[in-house]
């Protein structure tokens, strides 16, 4: 056990900063955006139609109707209509809002993951540190799997934390601008506390969903003589090009791309499918034959990656 913890810790030391810095930058951008929005809220130029103005007036509290209403408060009232929504309606709206906030984090995480994976087996060949790692009693299978497990299932803890913090910050901001007495409903409807657990389970599935794409990138990382990122994209593109010439369609690149998307994550799944299917809708991915075909192909590609590392292709 100590060995596997050591392997994952090594991956964390090497690739962890890329993940938490990228999430940190996104959080900073979010916070700055909110600060700017609050700072300039008096100047928000919100153009409303007659129906929207009527709707807004109906949804506002009496005190708000009689007093000055800021642009942010108007926007919040329009978007969420907290007072005028039932709990179920509010939950649907909040779920969509929470999913929107999470999008940037999941997609940025995906991009960072690809960059981390393209480096994991290439960099150690480039700086010859592979010779040091291979001088220790760690098998090539353990090395390759530890790298995959880290990116697919350990690093997501960072993005889950990032999304949770971002959603909490936005909720706090919304609580300030929402109608009096509605903040509690907002928090309850957001289901903020159960979201990280759904995300955690979602990433367990996601780690299998992206297996063929991630394993392909790792294989390229283990064998590419130079610029592995270029090889990782160029080969599927060339295959697709031939495919489209011969058959008039290009399924290989599309299939790999689809298995690179964070489609098994609750927030993203909800976003793509417009909220259909409830909180556990993302589990539907398990019923797709494509999911299991991807797992099989991914396992095959990982096995090839282990063989490639065993043969140590020096740069």
């Amino acid at each position: 056990m100590q060995k596997y913890v050591g392997l994952l810790k090594r991956e964390w030391l090497e690739h962890g900063p890329a993940f938490y810095w990228s999430m940190g930058v996104l959080l900073i951008i979010l916070i700055l955006s909110l600060i700017l929005a609050f700072a300039f809220e008096a100047n928000l130029d919100v153009e409303l139609s007659a129906e929207q103005q009527e709707e807004l007036r109906e949804n506002m509290t009496l005190s708000q109707r009689n007093g000055d209403v800021s642009g942010l408060e108007m926007l919040t009232a329009l978007a969420l209509d907290t007072a005028g929504s039932t709990d179920a309606e509010l939950r649907t709206k909040m779920s969509a809002a929470m999913a929107v906030i999470a999008q940037a984090f999941h997609w940025v995480f995906l991009v960072v993951s690809i960059f981390a994976l393209i480096a994991v087996l290439y960099d150690e060949r480039k700086d010859h540190s592979i010779l040091f790692y291979k001088s220790l009693p760690v098998t090539d299978t353990e090395s390759v799997l530890s790298k995959y497990v880290f990116v697919a299932w350990v690093a997501p803890v960072v993005v889950i934390a990032g999304v949770f913090i971002a959603q909490t910050i936005v909720l706090l901001a919304a609580s300030i601008t929402v109608e009096d007495g509605q903040a509690g409903r907002l928090w309850a409807a957001s289901e903020i506390w159960s979201r990280p657990f759904h995300a955690l389970f979602g990433y367990l599935l996601q780690g299998l969903w992206v297996l063929p794409t991630y394993a392909w990138v790792m294989l390229v990382s283990a064998v590419a003589p130079k610029v592995p990122l270029l090889w990782a994209f160029a080969i599927p593109m060339v295959i697709s090009w031939f495919e489209s010439l011969l058959f008039g369609q290009s399924s290989v690149a599309q299939w790999l791309l689809s298995h690179g998307a964070p489609a098994a994550l609750p927030d993203v799944h909800r976003f793509i499918n417009d909220g259909e299917g409830g909180a556990f809708a993302y589990l539907a991915v398990l019923r797709q034959g494509d999911f299991w075909v991807g797992v099989l192909i991914g396992v095959g590609l990982l096995a090839l990656t282990v063989i490639a590392r065993r043969r140590y292709i020096a740069i």
């Binding site: 392997l7 010779l131 001088s135 009693p137």
Partner: protein, 278 residues
Amino acid sequence: MIVAANNLQKRFGDTAALDGFTMSVPAGRVVGLIGPNGSGKTTALKSILGLATLDGGELQVMGKDPLRQRAALMQDVVFIADTGILPKWMRVGDLLDYVDAVQPGFNRAAAVERLAKTEIRVTKRVRTLSKGMHVQLHLAIVLATEAKLLVLDEPTLGLDILYRQQFYDAILNDYYEQDRSILVTTHEVREIEHILTDVVFIHKGRTLLSAPMEDLAQRYTKLVTPDEVSLPTPPISTKRGLSGYEYVVQDVPRNELAELGSVTTPNLAELFVAVVGE
């Protein structure tokens, strides 16, 4: 037998890196693998460490197939390569933690104690260390690991004379024991000559000579004469130097040669040149 290599074959395209290479490392011996650049010695070492595939031959290290059982083998084998191979992005402390986690035979406290005698601090990143400190760090890790075989591939390349001396002193004083073996390659033959118990000459992937050091003194003689002389058996090399004619002769009693000129034992460099020149 710690290493048993028999008729190893390895080709890179049209070039034979190993062409029937054969050698052995018995327990408790310090074996020098001597050869020029491109002779196949690094390929041989990589094969022994499970880092390179072979096209043919039989190779066992401590009874294991190095390629298939590398991880198990590395519990008993440590090595230092010619280039700085420690991960440069790591901090020294993290590196020690990593080795501690994956290498059961590693004694972290012993490594830290050794490093405390140097200028290397555990908070430093490996990339900030000089070449000499890099080797000191690797040496500290290796010497703190319980292993039966130490493989050194040009370990002092690029080091100044002070570090080189310290390096081999540390190896002899702190690693070498009766049941531990060392396999070393280097260009600086004179540097290691005094610590070797056995020597293997490799050239063009073939074993030219494999013998204990004490046998070399008995079998090979260097004869220097002011004038060219006729020898009982043909010498394996003849060279005209400032002091006259220098012959390296094999398997001729020294008393027979002493009558012809001054007789000494050739050093490894002289012997290597003589054997390769053959």
